[in-house]
Symmetry: C2
Subunit: 710 residues, 2 copies
Amino acid sequence: MSSLDSITASLASLSITPSASVLHAETNSPTSWREALLATPSAPESFELIKTLVYKPKTAKTATPVPVVVIARDETETSSSALGKKLNLKELRLASEDLLAEFFSLDKNSISLLALNGDTFPKVVTVIDSSIASSSTPFAIHASSSSSTLFLSGADIVAYLKSLETEEVKVQEIDFATLKTEAPAAKPAVKEKEEAKIEGAVQIAIGVKKEVDFSAWYQSVLLKADMLEYYSVSGCYILRPWSYGIWEEIQDWFNKKIKAMGVQNASFPMFVSAKVLEREKDHIEGFSPEVAWVTRAGSSELEEPIAIRPTSETVMYPYYAKWIKSHRDLPLKLNLWNNVVRWEFKHPQPFLRTREYLWQEGHTAHLTKAEADKEVLEILELYRRVYEELLAVPMIPGVKSEKEKFAGALYTTTVEGFIPASGRGIQAGTSHCLGQNFSQPEMFNIVVEDPNDPTGQGKTYAWQNSWGLSTRTIGVMVMVHGDNQGLVLPPRVASVQVVVVPCGITAKTSDADRNKINDACDKLAKSLIDIDIRAKADLREGYTPGYKFNDWEQKGVPIRLEIGPNDLAKQQTVSVRRDTGAKAPIALADLKATVPKLLETIHNDMYAKALNEYNAHLKEVTRWEDFVPTLDNKCIAVIPWCEREVCEDDIKERSGRSAEPQDERAPSAGAKSLAIPFDQDRWTPIELGKTKCVACDQDAKRWTMFGRSY
Amino acid sequence: MSSLDSITASLASLSITPSASVLHAETNSPTSWREALLATPSAPESFELIKTLVYKPKTAKTATPVPVVVIARDETETSSSALGKKLNLKELRLASEDLLAEFFSLDKNSISLLALNGDTFPKVVTVIDSSIASSSTPFAIHASSSSSTLFLSGADIVAYLKSLETEEVKVQEIDFATLKTEAPAAKPAVKEKEEAKIEGAVQIAIGVKKEVDFSAWYQSVLLKADMLEYYSVSGCYILRPWSYGIWEEIQDWFNKKIKAMGVQNASFPMFVSAKVLEREKDHIEGFSPEVAWVTRAGSSELEEPIAIRPTSETVMYPYYAKWIKSHRDLPLKLNLWNNVVRWEFKHPQPFLRTREYLWQEGHTAHLTKAEADKEVLEILELYRRVYEELLAVPMIPGVKSEKEKFAGALYTTTVEGFIPASGRGIQAGTSHCLGQNFSQPEMFNIVVEDPNDPTGQGKTYAWQNSWGLSTRTIGVMVMVHGDNQGLVLPPRVASVQVVVVPCGITAKTSDADRNKINDACDKLAKSLIDIDIRAKADLREGYTPGYKFNDWEQKGVPIRLEIGPNDLAKQQTVSVRRDTGAKAPIALADLKATVPKLLETIHNDMYAKALNEYNAHLKEVTRWEDFVPTLDNKCIAVIPWCEREVCEDDIKERSGRSAEPQDERAPSAGAKSLAIPFDQDRWTPIELGKTKCVACDQDAKRWTMFGRSY
């Protein structure tokens, strides 16, 4: 095993200086490696990962194996069968951990071309992707462990390997691009990855196609649009103003609506003692594996560890019991805008699955179930409107199955979204009726005299709701609307709704003309600001109009207005829609009337497009044979279902077994129930006692959406 | 030592059932005990503490001492000299911990009358305050430890003690109220406490005078006005809607102002790794004793402990270095609204000193010092305006001494407030210039090419500011304006500015007349809401107008409007100002014109009153002999000062030595420098080289405010 020091020394002896050398969290996949590097400020802005694969050819059991070490760009397809053919070696298989340990004293996450040295190089066959040598991108290479990375140029890599060559053993260069075409057809999924890079994409552009490598696309859009920054604590992210501004718009809108319902905002502590946290058994079972614990302050150990809230039911309800003394104190309706922590060990994903996140959580207590029921739906309707009316993202409202309901709830209602690019459903906002579960005497004892009891002696326990909507909203919006040019922002939440870009200014343009155009842009932006449109003139010097177009397209600004000398002469501006690219001139005199309408049209068109996609992927499935193929076609299967938990478990297991190889980003490859839609009328009516459950053939109750999900 | 079980058993044998029995945090003073009980929802709503004092009379060294155990209400004055006289015992002194351990196996924080049992009772003299027996309040009594409390009635306490009596040893009842008058005059401070309870105060009222027991008054106002709730984790508090609404008003106002300055809101994670946190040495030295550490998630120990931000400099600046690549990326101006944690071990106080609190923190980076300097003052001016224009609380802007500046800053500016009731200064908001301290290469390396360098090779490090304003604002406002009726809210931030109360409705009033009055109130409130006044009609049934008056007075609503049958006949309403109690009729026709003006008048009057009080307590001091007396007179001493840190240390030490016995609530009894006011013109001009520092007689530089502080 080469230590970092000895690696650095041997590189130095070849006059090779890495362009950077960084330490980071341990990594166990290309994705986590890339993320760790993105979260390390001293890493280069752009880089490519190098993969080092070790294969073992079939050899006689008694013979010492000669491993094949393949060094390639992470995205290069390296077919082992084609390679075996080329090298005339039989049945190349990825080497076992034992073999790696034996040859290199490293595990598969830590191995890199730097494991090759004077000792090991002569004992293996080394193959390098011929496209590496000429590339100017810095390549990331693990240096002795999965938590350290050096950045070397292609030329440096080749120089290093060449330095190890002996009379007998040379490095073999192979052009994997050619090799691929020689080999039998690879699996389509892998082939597509090859094409993920967008032809001619420049540094500033997204660089990867949404339809080909969705998770790389998502990462790229968020970074390039200045929505997000990766952070040095895994699973935590920085929300930059471009995304946080969307959250502020959602907050403003939602605050107005809930205040009109009589809900008041408040603030509760983020800490909760173990004793209080564990009061409700079902509830804490749902959360305890993910609770973060503070055990130390300064240099003092705390007497008792204190939890950071994963949600605030148990933080708040002891005080509800204290404040609610009479039925006159009901309803009590409080809402918090705060941060919660769920220390998930699954792979994190910005906005969708993060260890700390921002949300609102509403907690209300009512005298009667009828009141509580009514509010649950009123809030769910607000969640639907946040998505549909602000973010232009269609939702299907419904109720969760018993298995999928909130831990401790009586029932959970949900607005369920859909991500066409991955074919996965997403729980987008939930409104729970907790029933009287938390108000029971052995729980929080939230009790009042029953005003409707004729004896005057009766007690009644409060009916409670809780409901939450998080910054997941933003991730869903990005995934649904974004395209290969970057983000596409729905107009109502965009921090900048209209950007005005001066055009047609060249080196020959006189200062007077330049000023005239810039002034026109400035004036135009101001006239829009006057009518409460969030407009901005981009008068930055030293950038071409093309650069600016690209910049604002990546950031998803709904409308670009261009003004050049010709436009000025005609007293017009040219509008360009971000969502469709459609161009149209607008007379300056009509601007104040036209732009607001155009923003509305864009919102409506974006919503309609997303709705069509959702509907097109919602498949009525009535035979089990069609169930998994429907999922594999990136669709949601809507089936007549018995609503039994045992059947749901069985569906998950059966659909998981036959599913495609699990994507590490995907929390579940088996299908789960997403929602039982309130609107059952869109499907063939279920005849009770006659229609059978598609999965188990027992009596079906309601049409239920099943799908892979986030 | 009696265990809790054996105590419960012996009480049960006497048929005594505690009205409640609770476990809570350990306590070491009446204040912390009361707070722990307030934070325990299952404790009774109202209670009194029982103190159990153990005295040792002077005895021959060889004799076995007979301790005197005094059982009294916590607020009762128990003069040991008067008691000794009464019992004919010499020189009663509080017993040592050794003696307590020997007799009762308990420490002084845990001892209670329940430490008396068949064993111990015969060995001591037991004295009980005679007023206990007849009281109906539940009394809090420690049961075997400082973290457990039983609640017993006065009669139960007496019954318990009587049960221990023997032929020889009886309980002695003493009327301490009478005893006091017999004894020589006690210290005034203690005497005043006796009078703290407001004559005839009912359950709903504040119950304690601001000028007599300020900290009990503060606690009571916050609870009775529904501003705050004590929480089960010490040092953390619940902000109820009545206080959180004020924070929302401040947020709205401040957001508008900073956005106009080009500041954008964002969100950064609450977690930070030890490595990053410790990057800036001075900075972390200032915070490390108070940092809370997460070391466990679910049941897994984290590889590395992770800190919760005490402030976000080190969280943010690595990314500033990443984002700022060119001078064109400057200025960068971000603001966060978030929660931070400083796990202080000093006594917490709601809003003023809490372990978790809400604030905004702005962090900006600039190309030049001039730009940074300018912004520091612009922000400070906004902080001044938040206090003066929203909260009607006067401020003095100035700069902090080197000793008092922010850890890691170049200089710190402050708005400094004053709490007349305690005579203490309070740091109310700070705006720091960090200089280039954090941007240095060995720190966060925030560097750009210098656009003004003629060679084009020069680099320049970013000039940085940070500035923060917290929910401390709310505490200061309560302390400054509140009175013996409760909270007094400044109109611009009050969640309810005007409350309309129907009057003159009696049992005889017909339903028609009742409806007429209620309708008039409702209509009146609506007509005010129409002109954006936050008005509310209090039409609750089953409450008298008197109850409602009191309720809204406690909650500090600026204007009450009353309407009774006579008012209705005259088409008028009677307005009552919360700040002055002044009553005046207003013709209903004039309401929309009069009420907004009246709200403005109230704001201005509240501000003027508070300003007069501040000015009256700001004393120009030019001789050291006057320094401590000025502080003891609850004033701030403004002195010509040399501005040397060694002199400041000396002042603190000398003024602390001679100070009154330290109040446990007071973070510092010695004086520190509060601010060097920008406006030096209000004091006699300092002649450089001639005017001497009041403390050390070296050359004075500027007039500086010194005082005791929070």
